[in-house]
């Protein structure tokens, strides 16, 4: 066999798109680490009942403010110590994963769904509808995001559900703008025209033809949206406007931390580490997804 033939035989077949994507994604150690941490948090969230050593709301009155196990005065059954009313910090953190990931999932899904719909309408139909939608998004963007979320919760009343609505509204303009920009980039391409000539109706063109080609940036933004949602939910919880006691929400766990800053460092430290790790993991994975999905950066 001569060299040319060998080269032809050795030439790799085009891999399945998912395999190709995974190869690009796995090349980035940060993204993989982020992915691993997210999987860990998901396991915690799903199996919280089995994994947590104690109930998140049971108060051990004889073990109030117990330091972590390795410190003097620590007890083996409370690995990360207990809070001011004797609840196990580790168990609350594990159940907190359920709340934080749940908030992220609900608010990102709500926001993404509505955002894709509005963005598709604006970008595909253009005209006055486009102007109206984009002006509305400009207005939402003009208010500082946390302030807007706080204002919405103030009107709807404090609580977990309302916090999720507020975060969904705060995230909305980003998805709308991103979808619109992607749609405008795609709508004049030949495959869309071909589909139109073949007789596809407006809705089919919007959702069946154009939307699947706009998904890459949306997937990236949705991942990053999780980190924003977790951060904002924690901030609302911290301000007393999000999850209400005795819910084991990470931000709400820090709400009373100021009182213990002199005496019980573990109450101040661990919930923050959990929020930080979750947000960092979603940011790392989002960056990795962007690198793997964006063909412009691939070259």
């Amino acid at each position: 066999m001569n060299d040319t033939q060998e080269a032809i035989l050795a030439a790799p077949q085009t891999p399945h798109p998912f395999v190709e994507f995974w190869r690009d994604f796995a090349r980035n150690p940060g993204a993989l680490a982020g992915f691993a941490v997210i999987v860990l948090f998901i396991i915690c969230a799903v199996f919280a009942g089995t994994l947590a050593p104690h109930s998140p709301i049971e108060q051990y009155r004889n073990a109030v403010l117990t330091p972590p196990t390795w410190q003097s005065g620590g007890r083996a059954e409370f690995l990360l110590g207990t809070d001011a009313v004797g609840r196990d910090v580790l168990s609350r953190l594990i159940f907190g994963a359920r709340l934080s990931l749940g908030i992220g999932l609900v608010s990102v899904t709500l926001s993404l769904g509505l955002g894709i719909f509005l963005g598709l309408c604006a970008g595909f139909l253009r005209g006055w509808l486009d102007t109206a939608i984009m002006r509305l998004m400009d207005i939402l963007l003009a208010l500082p995001s946390l302030l807007l979320a706080v204002a919405i919760v103030a009107v709807l009343g404090p609580g977990l559900t309302n916090a999720m609505y507020a975060i969904a509204i705060v995230l909305l303009p980003h998805y709308v703008r991103l979808t619109r920009a992607a749609v405008i980039g795609e709508r004049d391409k030949e495959y869309v025209l071909a589909s139109k000539i073949a007789g596809a109706g407006t809705l089919r063109l919007m959702f069946g033809t154009i939307l699947p080609n706009c998904l890459a940036p949306l997937i990236v933004q949705a991942t990053l949206g999780f980190s924003t949602a977790i951060l904002d939910a924690a901030a609302l919880g911290f301000l007393g406007l999000g999850a209400q006691p005795p819910a084991a929400e990470w931000g709400a766990m820090l709400a009373s931390a100021m009182e213990f800053i002199q005496s019980a460092w573990w109450i101040v430290t661990f919930p923050g580490i959990a929020i930080f790790l979750a947000v960092l993991a979603f940011n790392l994975m989002g960056d990795g997804l962007r690198d793997a999905l964006d063909p412009k950066l691939k070259q």
């Binding site: 002006r135 003009a142 946390l146 009107v155 924690a234 007393g240 820090l254 947000v279 940011n283 960056d287």
Partner: protein
């Protein structure tokens, strides 16, 4: 330039009208009405209820209420606080210098460290310096602001005892009110140690609030710088034998800064949102803490007026940044 200016202004005006509508509607969406909300669970005598509604102008048709709200707002009248009976605008103006001082210091801190760090990372691309800067900025970007503030207090105030935990100034000082900016006022007064006290109160809030913009600016500067370094004029400058320092400082820096200016402008919104958390934690008497307290007390005129002013500030700063952008980057004035 004038057309450019007028075009930008034309976009701002509908946005502003939208903000007034949004803020107006938001307050009307409160279940019940503000008077009921204020009187709480005890309930209120119906006659007194009607009288209060009339007093606040809440018994008139909505369009009339909105018209009056905008008309008064344009004349600087944002209503009166339900709790303190002070005009909302004067309460705002009393607290604004504190927030202004804090956010200004935070953005200066972010720019002075973030921009050089981003440049350094771009120039030393794919070296440990680059990875270090990017790693730290990613961490800063992912940091929950309120937890970061708590950690700073835990270490610097509680553990080391270097800085005070809350407030703007030690209670033993009482400098004359000149500008409302504590650093300036204490500098002008002759009280010994007052300036030092003001400075030590300011450091931790500044660090806490400035960290997220710092991380954003460093990332932005790096990517913008990397893009500029690929341009032909940089290669040309290199070909002419200019020193790397001269190329970076003179040719690349100014062009790389253009998108960074925009991002820095957008940080005003982030800073105002962050000020809510920072001021709450450090008991900093600014508008963030004022708004949160008003929300907890259901003082709706303050919430309404405060939100309106904050949004207007963000719009104005973004407009200013847009115009500045037109000046430093002439290409944008004449699109296509």
């Amino acid at each position: 330039m004038l057309t450019f200016f007028l075009k930008r202004l034309a976009v701002v005006i509908p946005t502003f009208i939208g903000i007034t509508l949004l803020v107006f509607a938001l307050i009307r969406m409160v279940p019940g009405d503000p008077v009921e909300a204020l009187s709480g669970e005890r309930g209120i005598d119906p006659a007194r209820h009607a009288q209060l509604l009339h007093e606040f102008g809440l018994d008139r048709p909505l369009p009339a209420q909105y018209g009056e709200f905008v008309w008064k707002a344009l004349h600087g009248d944002l209503g009166v606080s339900i709790v303190s009976h002070e005009p909302v605008l004067s309460e705002f103006l009393d607290r604004f210098p504190a927030t202004f001082e804090l956010t200004l210091c935070a953005i200066l801190f972010a720019a002075l460290i973030g921009i050089p760090a981003g440049m350094l990372a771009a120039v030393k691309r794919n070296t440990p310096i680059d990875y270090g800067v990017m790693g730290v900025s990613l961490a800063g970007y992912s940091m929950p602001l309120f937890w970061w503030a708590l950690l700073l207090i835990l270490y610097f105030s509680v553990h080391l005892g270097w800085t005070p935990v809350s407030g703007r100034l030690g209670i033993e000082f009482d400098p004359p009110h000149v500008t409302g900016l504590m650093l300036v006022d204490t500098w002008l007064s002759d009280e010994e140690g007052a300036f030092r006290s003001a400075l030590s109160h300011l450091i931790l809030p500044t660090l806490a609030l400035g960290t997220i913009p710092l991380a954003t600016l460093a990332r932005m500067t790096r990517s913008s710088m990397l893009e500029v370094l690929r341009e032909d004029y940089i290669r040309a400058a290199r070909a002419r034998g200019l020193t790397p320092l001269r190329i970076v400082a003179k040719h690349a820096f100014r062009n790389a800064l253009i998108p960074v200016v925009t991002v820095a402008g957008l940080q005003v919104g982030v800073l105002l949102g962050g000020a809510v958390l920072t001021e709450t934690i450090f008991a900093w008497p600014g508008i963030g803490k004022w708004l949160i307290e008003a929300i907890h007390r259901r003082d709706y005129p303050i919430v309404q007026g405060g939100l309106l002013i904050c949004a207007s500030l963000v719009i104005l700063v973004n407009l200013a940044v847009d115009l500045l952008y037109g000046i430093i980057n002439p290409r944008i004035r004449h699109p296509r």
